[in-house]
């Protein structure tokens, strides 16, 4: 168990260092997926299977796939096909796949002969997680809800598109008109 924990920690550190040193965002994201999976593996080896599954589903699954899609979408254009061919060179995917293979091997070992080793492991099942989240730490959970509202409202405001209500040929005209109006109002007090 302890060896498995150390190996997955090592993979986590390696992949995270690769994330912050890659220049191409897509390469970095591939390593980020591996990083999340190794964290999941750490959770698993410490006896928290539920957290491990959540880590994979929420981070590696949902968020990163979204990231990768968005980064790829943003680069749509003539060169997209060319770029994609560049991205799929072995040099790019061999690193992350090797690290992922190490994690896979670890998981197979853990599942086939998972007797507790020298480390003291208490298994935390979903029921325990739920009881502590919705019992003891209910206030923290509610506050995290407000944290989400703050994030959503802030992002929605910053990312909002300006409404265009008039034809684009008239845009310049409208802008000068607005400017005149603003000049007229100018200052509250002077």
């Amino acid at each position: 168990m302890e060896v498995l924990f150390c190996i997955s920690s090592l993979v986590a550190i390696l992949s995270t260092v690769m994330v912050i040193t890659r220049l191409n965002p897509v390469h970095a994201l591939l390593y980020l997926v591996v990083s999340f999976m190794s964290v999941a593996m750490i959770f698993l080896s410490l006896g928290a299977p539920f957290m491990a599954v959540l880590e994979v589903i929420v981070y590696a699954g949902a968020i990163i796939v979204l990231f990768i899609f968005v980064t790829m979408m943003l680069n749509l254009g003539k060169e997209t096909a060319e770029q994609e061919r560049n991205w799929l060179k072995p040099r790019v995917w061999v690193g992350p796949s090797l690290l992922a293979a190490v994690l896979l091997a670890e998981m197979i070992i853990l599942l086939t002969k998972g007797q507790p080793g020298s480390m003291q492991v208490t298994v935390v099942d979903p029921k325990k997680v739920a009881l502590s989240l919705y019992g003891e730490y209910i206030i923290a959970l509610e506050l995290v809800g407000f944290l989400m509202i703050a994030g959503i409202v802030g992002a929605a405001h910053i990312g909002k598109h300006r409404k265009k209500t008039f034809h684009r040929f008239l845009e310049d005209e409208a802008e000068t008109e607005q400017q005149l109006k603003a000049d007229y109002h100018d200052v509250h007090t002077g």
Binding site: E136, Y137, I138, I139, A140, E142, L143, V144, F146, L147, I149, A150, G151, V153, G154, A155, A156, H157, I158, A182, H185, D186, V187, H188, T189, G190
Partner: protein, 479 residues
């Protein structure tokens, strides 16, 4: 959770509900005025609830929160600040290019975050409160998203705040590794029985990076001037007061329950940060021509002074710190209120030359700003004087001579730039400008009146600090 605990939580629930109320009002497409007034009412309701539940305090709400007299004072101060900031926001945002409605959601959420910080006695609530505060602040700082300054300030704050959150988590993890708990009281007991280990000091040192960033202590102060300049003036007032009150009060509580001040090395670190903040803040402000940046550097120096009251780690120091926070927030609200009311639609009234000869055009505003500057400088008869005096007294009593001497010396340097601003107010105005029409007369005069009231409060705190100090001591249950 029993009935009494729910009662003690009531003000915080109302505070949390106020942002939801604003969301609902926006959903029903109600106007800015309606939102502004109902926000004001919700904040008043919070204060009333605090008054109603005062008998149930102090009460612990295990495992995360404790609501006591200290928390009641700091939360009350934060809500009071938000009342004033909300009022200033109306005339500022009504005339700006952005839809002002979402602003109030973020403002009330940030208030909730700061309030949670004041009541937290556990790392989890500390972290969540700090995150609510900073995530709302990203949106607030960059609210006028078509202005380059605002976007730059928002981005700087975002990067640095995210980095310091990582530091905070790492520090917490180290402390947890050493003590096996995230509760301040349990950590304090562990420290009492087995002292500060190397790992523990390392963890607390890393925690201090995050706290130092939020309070803009000196090695972590680089963001302050740019963010103060780029953010809209009401938001700057909020950052300079409410957000710092929240973080400072959690630092006080953490220090109190761990006895941080008794450890030789940590004491040295705190003294160093205090001295560096006082010196660097005052020196950087000396030649500043932009009043927002000037106030940013002055606030760095003021939190250096405040740390001098934190150093002794006794009850007198705590009382001094709370009184200092009160007088400092009232004073800064005055100063930023003036900047808000003077700002034009295109540009904020930032440059000092903008205020040249203000006394001959707008005597009342000029007097309010002068009183605020005098109070920041710590001149007698204003709130700054008894506040600084109490901080000095608590430092002297504990014989912290070096920080005290630096405090006195840097206060003299500070006098120069505060008086320079006042001097500019009374110069001859450059040219006669035609008086422009007053927009939104109701809110304009409301702001005007509130500024006058704040100025009177500064003078009252300066003349009769005794009542307030007694009140604070009663809340802290020292008598």
């Amino acid at each position: 959770m029993n009935e009494l605990e729910l009662q003690a939580l009531l003000p915080f629930m109302v505070l949390a509900a106020s942002s939801l109320v604003v969301i609902l009002l926006i959903a029903f497409r109600l106007s800015h005025t309606v939102i502004q007034i109902s926000g004001f009412m919700m904040m008043c309701l919070t204060v009333i609830c605090m008054w109603l539940v005062r008998d149930t305090l102090p009460r612990e709400i295990p495992p995360l929160l404790v609501i006591d007299g200290f928390a009641a004072f700091t939360t009350g101060l934060i809500v009071f600040v938000v009342l004033a900031v909300g009022l200033f926001s109306y005339i500022y945002f009504e005339e700006r290019e952005e839809n002002p409605k979402e602003y109030y959601i973020l403002l009330f959420l940030a208030t909730l975050g700061a309030a949670v910080l004041t009541v937290s006695k556990h790392f989890i609530s500390l972290f969540i409160g700090l995150e609510i505060l900073s995530i709302s602040l990203y949106g607030l700082i960059g609210y006028l998203r078509n202005r380059n300054n605002a976007v730059e300030a928002g981005l700087k704050y975002l990067m640095l705040a995210a980095l310091t959150s990582a530091f905070l988590l790492f520090g917490m993890a180290l402390v947890y590794l050493e003590t096996g708990s995230m509760d301040f009281a349990v950590i304090g007991r562990h420290v009492q029985s087995s002292g500060f280990s190397v790992l523990m000091i390392l963890g607390i040192g890393i925690l201090l990076v995050a706290v130092g960033f939020k309070l803009a202590f000196v090695p972590f102060h680089l963001w302050a001037a740019d963010v103060y300049q780029g953010a809209p003036p009401p938001v700057t007032a909020f950052i300079a007061t409410a957000s710092k009150i929240g973080v400072f009060s959690v630092l006080l509580r953490f220090g109190q329950s761990l006895g941080l001040q008794n450890e030789q090395l940590l004491q040295g670190i705190f003294s160093f940060i205090a001295i560096a903040s006082m010196i660097v803040g005052n020196l950087l402000a000396l030649r500043q021509q932009n009043i927002k940046r000037l106030l940013a550097y002055s606030s760095i120096a003021h939190f250096g002074y405040l740390l001098v009251a934190f150093l002794p780690g006794n009850d007198n120091g705590e009382t001094a710190a709370l009184f200092y926070l009160l007088s400092y927030s009232v004073t800064l609200l005055c100063a930023f209120g003036i900047i808000t009311i003077m700002s034009g639609t295109k540009q904020d009234a930032e440059s000092v030359s903008f205020y040249q000869g203000l006394f001959w055009k707008q005597p009342i505003l000029a007097v309010v700003l002068s009183v605020a500057m005098l109070s920041l400088a710590g001149i007698p008869l204003t709130a700054g004087f008894p506040a600084k005096f109490m901080v000095l007294a608590s430092g002297v009593e504990d014989s912290r001579w070096i920080p005290v001497l630096v405090l006195v010396a840097t206060s003299v340097i500070g006098l120069y730039y505060y008086l320079r601003v006042i001097g500019i107010l009374f110069e001859k105005p450059e040219e006669e400008t035609a008086a422009t029409k007053v927009l939104h007369p109701f809110f304009y005069y409301a702001t005007y009146t509130s500024l006058t009231v704040l100025m009177l409060a500064i003078c009252w705190l300066g003349l009769f600090p005794g009542n307030v100090i007694d009140g604070i001591r009663q809340l802290l249950q020292l008598e």
